[in-house]
Symmetry: C2
Subunit: 373 residues, 2 copies
């Protein structure tokens, strides 16, 4: 049995428990969902139907790609349904023999008008579109990495660490002098190492732009790591799994506010990681950091972290909002990324990826705040 | 009056005609909508509320960025609403004085479960989420480029043409030898020219991968433009507006199937552009190309083209599906991108951007199928 069969089987069992006869997953422009890759190996632009009895059907846009990448028992071309998800749904219900009157789970991100169209196209089935449906079950499954996925994370983390070492060298030597230099070094390096792509757009913000949480544009021809604080936030994607790290480069004095911000961010990073372990509520980890900053009169404008995997942002959440109820568990891979931003002093952020283990946690990556003097 | 004020005023008038009291736009991870940039100048991660009386409110995540980029009369930090769209909606209804019982338009991509949550959070208003709501009105407005936008398109097209010339030279000289070489040349070139970013991930597929419509990964360390057919599909984004072109590089013989495919794609490209003019149904343009291919026993697995603008894919649609009812009009900027793909011969695609003018059309870019001999 392949990994993909096992995963589909596990999902089928979970939906069967809930009396759901079939679940649909959709990956399309505007609604990307790597769960299709997780369950079938197919990288995207497809619908995936998984029935409670374990049978499944992939409906890819590109059947040539499916033939080479998907691991699944049944494939039907999306073009055979004129690329209409409603026609494909009707076809899947018939092909998988889903009984009339039974419950069909739609992705929780299905737009309201599309929900109405599914109901009209397939009036004999009972469509459900809820926050805690199969989309959420898949997110829960994906949040806990299995042995293969952890092995992948060790690989991508080692490549990411190597990239950070090379970037530090390049910045110190002057070879990487602009935001573009740094970002393109990463693009070339990752492909030489067998990675697919960056996990998200590399964010390289020199001192004039580092006060923004997510500087815009992501990188420019402007100087990087000149006087002040520069932020580099990037991730490498290996077999679909992305790392996510942030380094800060500081040129010039670390007296005054700048030094205080750097010390606080470093302390927040280290103290947060020290309490990451199975059973800890991720909200408490985030609240710990909020307190460290508040005591000195600072406030972080973003979450402390997030799960990573096939998406740069996935479960579990690591933030102090009251609606966050995640409890850390072995196999979770999360980021810890405290940051502080000031329109004048600039921004500083330090981010690493952390694997929750049986006994505590393992810091997978080794980002740093580089003091260039 | 700024361009942004004019645009917001035009939308306000359109929703007022429909007895909608307020429309909401949302740009967030998983649901990107550059309409917020179109109406306010703010690049994203925000909510935008526009009332029928013309007043508006921007709720950005990053208030520092809004202070430097947004052009709007009222701003409230998203963090003041704990980054809850439901809390922000309640706040906007109050701040803009939207009468109880009146109709509020939600983005047409609002997930079904969120729709339910808006209704619960603001029970005194009548929420609508429909395909032809304000999202669609904004798409219609954005489809027709104004004089400023057309000037931007001339700029980004000229830079794109220059990039294509340089790429052809680099491939011919051997300086650009891998998929990565070509993709990173583009990344550096565009920033030197003042562009923000690529409009979408550059797709550089050497002969072993060009049979895929959208090769995966987008580019690798593999050779480019060696024996066979290689596809390069890229776009440059200037002030948010993206170009979108595809070149094909052919090394070796053009006898047999390969030559037939190349000639057909070239003919489809030229014949389609020849009939692009105001009043033409874009579906008819697509059907013309379908017929050219069908006569020779080929079938194109994707749409002929699409509008471009602040998004790489936007209105108007240019495809042969029956649900496409767009009529070309002056100010539309569309791609024409016929392509044919064969698992053995490889793929060939030729794509240019075309501005519909008062009297016909103007081809903005000058892509080519490069025969390397």
């Amino acid at each position: 049995m392949t990994t993909y069969e096992k995963r589909r089987g596990a999902l089928a069992a979970r939906i069967a428990e809930r009396n759901v006869a079939m679940a649909m997953f959709e990956d399309t422009e505007g609604r990307r969902d790597p769960s299709i890759r997780y369950f079938s190996g197919h990288p995207g632009d497809a619908l995936l139907f998984i029935a409670a009895d374990g049978r499944s059907l992939l409906v890819p846009w590109d059947v040539n790609m499916a033939a080479s990448m998907a691991s699944i028992e049944d494939v039907a071309a999306y073009t055979d349904f004129a690329r209409s998800p409603f026609a494909a749904m009707a076809g899947a219900l018939e092909r998988l023999g889903v009984a009339k009157g039974s419950v069909v789970d739609l992705p929780s991100v299905t737009p309201y008008p599309m929900y109405v169209d599914y109901v009209e196209a397939c009036p004999d089935h009972d469509f459900r579109c809820v926050e805690d449906g199969a989309t959420s079950l898949a997110a829960e499954m994906r949040a806990v990495k299995d042995a293969d996925e952890i092995a992948t994370y060790r690989k991508v983390s080692a490549i990411t660490d190597e990239a950070m070492d090379e970037i530090e060298k390049g910045v110190r030597s002057g070879a990487l002098a602009t935001e573009t230099d740094v970002a393109l070094f990463i693009e070339r390096f990752l492909r030489q190492k067998g990675c697919e792509a960056t996990g998200f757009e590399t964010l390289a913000a020199g001192p004039s732009r580092s006060f923004g949480i997510h500087a815009f544009p992501a990188y420019t021809a402007a100087p990087f790591a000149v006087e002040g604080m520069s932020i580099l936030d990037f991730g490498l994607s290996y077999e679909g799994y992305t790392s996510d790290v942030t380094m800060t480069f500081v040129r010039g004095s670390t007296d005054g506010k700048r030094g205080e911000m750097i010390a606080l961010v470093k302390k927040a990073h280290d103290d947060a990681i020290a309490v990451c372990k199975p059973g800890a509520r991720s909200r408490d980890v985030a609240l710990l950091v909020d307190r460290i900053f508040e005591e000195k009169g600072y406030k972080m404008p973003h979450a402390l972290g997030h799960g990573v995997g096939l998406e740069a942002h996935e479960a579990p959440a690591v933030r102090s909002r009251e609606d966050n109820e995640w409890v850390l568990a072995p196999g979770h891979v999360i980021t810890i990324e405290p940051g502080l931003y000031d329109p004048e002093a600039g921004g500083v952020r330090l981010e690493d990826d952390v694997l929750i283990t049986e006994s505590g946690c393992e810091v997978l990556t080794h980002a740093r705040i580089v003091l260039l003097g």
